[in-house]
């Protein structure tokens, strides 16, 4: 039942990404050329809702359904957020897809995106392989 709920949240998330055109190569180009507000609107409203809900979770000390205390996520700094971030940005401009949209594009029937996805898996694997030798 719990697992079905994760699947369900994923379906809604994927539907919103797709119908909101956040997986559209065209929208991504429009965004990177600052020629439209659409993608920025999606980002800003998503982050606002996320931030508001984290604030409420903290304020009312809400627990998860298992009774676990919800701790606001922390993300540590390492140089990879810049180096890796730039490399991901390059790929985003080419493919028009972040990892979430890769799954959604395949689902949308753009089956050739499976090649992009396999290549992204290979990129992940290559990072894993080189990780001890890369500046962190």
């Amino acid at each position: 039942m719990r697992n079905l709920s994760y699947l369900g949240i994923g379906i809604v998330f994927g539907l919103a990404l797709t119908k909101g055109e956040a997986i559209s190569w065209f929208r991504i180009q429009e965004m990177f050329h600052f020629q439209g507000f659409h993608m920025y609107g999606i980002f800003m409203s998503a982050v606002s809702i996320g931030a508001l809900s984290l604030f409420l979770i903290k304020k009312f000390r809400l627990h998860s359904m298992d009774g676990e205390k919800i701790v606001s996520p922390t993300k540590g700094y390492h140089h990879g957020v810049i180096i890796g971030g730039l490399i991901f940005g390059f790929g985003w401009a080419l493919t028009g897809a972040c990892p979430g949209p890769l799954y959604a594009q395949i689902g949308s029937g753009y089956l050739v995106t499976m090649v992009t996805f396999l290549s992204a898996l290979f990129g992940t694997w290559t990072y894993a392989r080189l990780q001890p030798h890369l500046p962190d």
Binding site: R2, S5, L7, I9, I11, F13, G14, L15, A16, L17, T18, K19, G20, Q29, M31, F32, H33, Q35, G36, G41, I42, V47, S48, G50, A51, I57, E68, I70, K75, H78, G80, V81, G84, G85, L86, G89, F90, G91, W92, A93, L94, T95, P99, G100, L102, Y103, A104, Q105, G107, S108, Y110, V115, T116, A120, G123, T124, T126, Y127, R129, Q131
Partner: protein
Amino acid sequence: MELLYKPWPWYVAGPIIGLSVPALLLLGNKKLGVSSTMRQICAACVPSGIPFLQYDWKKDSWNLLFVFGILIGGFIGGTLLANPNPVMISQNTVNLLASQGVKDVNGLLPTELFNWQTLLSLKGLLLMVAGGFMVGFGTRYARGCTSGHGILGLSALQWPSLVSTISFFVGGILFSHFVLPHILAL
């Protein structure tokens, strides 16, 4: 009925995407993130004795169900409820892309660039194979993508996520202005 096929405005899609943050936390104390699933798939299928891939990936198997859901959501939104009309991007973008040879703005991806034939050309290899590689390599190096850093990290007011999101955009802006035009001209 027609409404079902129309694309959603940003103020509908954005808040729904944002609601995945509390939904996952409240349901099972899970943190939104997509790129980590590619590490899980690597760890499950080709661990190859690499230390970075030796971890208990099964513990996060909820995430694999989540991304399978994204795929189904893409099927519903992009196939069953596909928008029959061209994407309503700005006329400036339409003109810019047309000047670079991308004339068809129907669907979610330009099928003239992303298809099985172009995959055998340098252009297609760069767009799909090199592009995909950089998405996988970069997100793992940054330990997060637009979901984990861009939405969850920013929602939690984590400054490293802000640095990372700015880097995503700087990389994308530089590439789409200065590199992509040359690739499209191939």
